[in-house]
Amino acid sequence: MEKTKTFPPQTAPSERGLDLSPHVSDEIRKTTCYMCACRCGVNVHIRKDHNGREVVSYLEGNRDHPTNQGVLCAKGSSGIMQHYSPARLKKPLLRVGPRGSGNFKEISWEEALTTATNWLRPARQKDPSKLAFFTGRDQSQSFTSWWAQAFGTPNYAAHGGFCSVNMAAGGIYTMGGAFWEFGTSDWERTRMFMIFGVAEDHDSNPIKLGLSKLKKNGAKIVGVNPVRSGYNAVADEWVGITPGTDGLFILSMVQELLKAGKVDVPYLVRYTNAPWLVIEDPGAADHGLFARGKDGHPLVIDRRTGKLASAEDSDAKPDLKGVAKLPGGRKARPVFEIMAEKYLDPKYAPEAVAATCGIEAGTIRRLAAELAHAAFEEEIVLDREWTDWRGKKHDKMIGRPVSFHSMRGISAHSNGFQTARALHFLQILLGSVETPGGFRFKPPYPKPVEAHPKPHSKWEPDTPLHGPHLGYPLSPDDLQIDENGRPRRIDKAFSWDAPLAAHGLMHMVIANAAEKDPYGIDVLFLYMANMAWNSSMNTSGTMEMLTRTDEKGDYVIPKIIYSDAYSSEMVAFADLILPDTTYLERHDCISLLDRPISEPDAAADAIRWPVVEPDRDVRGFQSVLLDLGARLGLPGFVAENGSPKYRDYADYLVKHERRPGIGPLAGWRGEEGEARGRGAANPHQLEKYIENGGFFVAHIPEEAQFFKPWNKAYQDWAVGMGFFDKPQPYVFSLYSEPLRKFQLAAEGHGDRQPPENMRARIREAFDPLPTWYPPFQGEMVDKTEFPLHAITQRPAAMYHSWGSQNAWLRQIHGANPLYVPENVARAAGLQSGDWAWVTSHHGRIRVPVHVTAASNEKTLWTWNAIGKRKGAWALGKGAPETTRGFLLNHLIHELLPPRGDGMRVSNSDPVTGQAAWFDLRVKIEKADGPGADSLMPETGGQVSPVGQGPETVEYGKAWK
């Protein structure tokens, strides 16, 4: 356009009434975001609406917060819409229609709590195992588990078993911590970063902040993922791996590194069990266990003398190869040599794995070389002194700037535990765990597997469980099975089905309870998990199980109590609803006893507090649980005079002590708030947190920031903080003895052995060295019939099912197509916009498709949890979530197809029981004909107990 002379003169901004400095808010209240489990610090701007009520006007990240440093993701920013969602439950509800219908009547809290108590009390008095209490992605597991323990039921777990226990357990058994929530990359210093199977992860904002740092520093980012979206889209290189084959790819790189000698030998000798001697006496009951001296310490070969020495002997120079003769004449070899032998096998050669992994051999070679280059040619030296646990002073910190990150793409497979182990293992071989530029633990980690609790499940009437439910078994002795080898827990965790089920198997609870296998229950008590919908494999089947009746017409699962904050699908399938507050209306605690928000340089914890008051008759679930505990008279919940011990959750947070001086919150302990970590309860602790922006940070001294498992200063600091009671240095387990013990049982040793038909699978899956086997489902179905993989991803701007009630987020993700690779689409005659039938061994769905070129050629994918059941979430008729949004879950079964012997096992990792969501195999055909453009299966609908949302939202009008 031609520029025109300004006549009349340009109107000055002020004349236009443009206020450049408008009032922003009356007050900022700092709390913790809970639009996802990342737990960022959030500044909540409060102002008054036209009626003088306080409303939330704007949310922004808290710049001082260690997790998000001021940024906020899409979910976080849309918290206003969640907080004012029309789907919020308003009052306790008692079911009046059949399960699934959504017909409820509103009741008072007194009636609700009395009802719950009346359902729970008989179970506790007669048989606590008749209660199954499972919680979803809440962040108060140290509290809910304490309640369950006091109740005495063995049947408690949170959602980790279907989520990411493979990653957690794989890391903890290997190095006492894992990618995921227990550690992170040294973003400032890493030169090469590989991210395996991550769409979003719980570290949503930190990963993004980290990636941008890497880019700024010119570090290389490699994304290993069948799909090239999100982080993989910005990665410098994308490795479009075939699902379920990462283990093979990783071990092939291990072979390359071993061949070229590109592993950190001094590191392996000092900090791992690489030199430890493994007994070689085939057939013996200790074949494959560590050779130990009389003092029980593992033995090594001293390189100078060729003689045996204790691994604890700091003067010994352990060898990594050779054959040792043990007293008594038996042979033993160092872990390293056994390991090298295993991985130098031609079956791990790049050429041998290329086709399976869908990655060119040359690329595997090059990536191994690049790792080696970054680790050894770009070595980092920090001039920082530190002292190791043997008292030896080091004047430098040597770093290998390579780091990995990984999550469910690896863990949600039936070989996920071993794959997760393989990746931690590779990170160790490169000498880059807890060294500058590598992977770093976040306090209270590192924590060796031995320092974790063991599982407990012995129940007695009216008695608390004698220890925590969940833990880390070290041998078959720690399994939770009865004299006949039958599972003691309803989810069969810690049985031969899933021996190392450190997080339980929430995905099996409903199925097992409905089958009364191993036994029936009276009350199913769920919290914050949409088990009738996206949380379950086999969604249609789960809805059937929740409504299944016996000959008498009674529900097989007699009573279901559920706490949700919103009108989810699961609400419709429960009998008694305990409505929770939103995250801005309650106290919460992000505790170091639980899932930490620490950073590698600092321990941190945080709270939520009611920054606004609820406008409905709802109560914070933790406070309700305290109330229930008191009504049931659970030990720890009542004072000596029988009155409730804690007023509410806030009171508990401040007063409760787990061990003397150790409470839910680590900051401002001691009467004056002078202590951190350990200290007496401080009645003003929460106020201190609020003053400080809702969180507490304790920085790790500089000399203690790296080499944490072996760093004396760190160990002392951690003891001071109360993470452990005495220093606990340890070495990493390249070779895992606990795994070998399970393998020995499968080989016929010991008095606890797996059932016959499970021996082979235990033997294979419990390899003490990281291994790879094909995912089970792929092996059990006809691969020519079901040639394709189907997986899901987290969308960055949506949190599971609960984002759909959010007026803003649902515009971004209101529907989901199935993304189909071009070659597959061509073969099936599919174009974007078409509809297709997708079939697995278990089910069939009809869905809209979109053709893509940016994914692995054998892999279909879609966004997770967009589809909704009609009537849920206060959504109106025709909501796209119900017409064009679908769940892949209908295709996934909680059991694998029957085997030759008719036996069906859980569709889970055989080690940990982690749900194998991503093992799904399918075929795809074009859906033709009239009406082919609608979703199948039809899942019915539910009446909305909260009505429907308004037609128009004009947020901001409230005060404008």
């Binding site: 356009m1 515009q811 971004i812 209101g814 529907a815 989901n816």
Partner: protein
């Protein structure tokens, strides 16, 4: 672009109305008061209805008066100013004609020129938009003129015939010629439109995003899963079949039928009803033509939402 009824009516009707004002201002009519009254009312009816309809397009019509302020840069403002001025000047001229029996040729000529300028301003609202390659061409004002003149001549001929004016036949012939010329221009416009695609203009998906330098570009995910204002307003999709059928209909109603009817009128004597019918059919054809004018127009923002490069489709 979304073919909103308000703008379709606005552009077609005001074209005919101001076209008729031009013809009347240039004294194409007859000094029959009945004719003058009818013709003047018709001119005001079409121009007025067009303008009124354009205000229906406004979401805040109460502020329409502000639209007169930016004549120095905005074609829409100019259109507003010109149409009101023209209505005024033509009104003065008409008062003379209708009430005072005064024909002021100068005032008539000025009104005629202003009416023509108004048609130009209307067309420039669209022709100025670089964002819509089909519109952004000299062919657009030409086509607007062609149809304004053809439609108004046909209307004039029908009126003249109705009032038994002797030169109705002559005007019929002009109208026929004008229809043919207008459609010839439209043909030219269509030919131009075929090449005036986003990618040809350098506004294809690859250019729009700047990602074309890496390779061929196609949208993967839109920002929202349900349609938004932009998509509803700028990305109207007409099926190829439907477009072809409508184009045929526009051509038949707007050109072929009127031409045949005019020819019949010329030779069959019963001129007025045939010409009125011809005009009505032409008007219907023009509405179809205008519908397509909007509906088929690609807006540059479409490049962000769907592949505009055949290579990437």
């Amino acid at each position: 672009m979304h073919p909103a009824a308000s703008v379709i009516v606005f552009t077609t009707f005001s074209g005919i109305g101001f076209g008729l004002m031009t013809l009347l201002g240039l004294r194409f009519g007859v000094e029959n008061p009945w004719f003058q009254w009818t013709a003047t009312i018709a001119a005001y009816f079409f121009a007025g209805l067009g303008l009124l309809s354009s205000t229906l397009h406004l979401r805040r019509p109460d502020r329409a008066w502000r639209a007169f302020s930016q004549w120095r840069s905005s074609w829409l403002s100019r259109e507003g100013v010109m149409s009101i001025l023209t209505l005024g000047v033509f009104g003065l001229y008409s008062i003379g004609v209708l009430f005072l029996d005064v024909y002021d040729p100068w005032l008539g000529a000025i009104a005629a020129i202003m009416a023509l300028v108004t048609v130009l301003t209307t067309s420039m609202i669209y022709a100025q938009l670089r964002t819509v390659p089909r519109w952004s061409t000299g062919w657009t004002p030409l086509a607007f003129y062609g149809f304004a003149i053809a439609g108004s001549l046909l209307l004039l001929a029908a009126l003249l015939a109705t009032f038994g004016a002797p030169h109705a036949r002559q005007v019929e012939q002009y109208a026929m010629a004008a229809i043919i010329i207008a459609w010839a221009i439209k043909y030219g416009w269509w030919r131009h439109a075929e090449t005036a695609t986003l990618s040809a203009r350098g506004s294809g998906t690859g250019d729009a995003t700047g990602l074309g330098r890496i390779g061929s570009v196609r949208p993967f995910e839109p920002p929202n899963t349900s349609p938004n204002y932009l998509m509803k307003e700028m990305i109207y999709r007409v099926g190829r079949q439907r477009a072809r059928a409508l184009r045929r209909m526009a051509l038949f109603l707007g050109a072929v039928a009127p031409v045949i009817l005019i020819a019949l009128a010329t030779y069959a004597g019963a001129a007025a009803p045939l010409l009125i019918l011809a005009f009505l059919l032409h008007l219907a054809g023009m509405l179809a033509e205008r519908w397509l004018f909007f509906a088929e127009a690609e807006h540059a923002v479409g490049s962000f939402y769907r592949a505009t490069d055949p290579m990437a489709a």
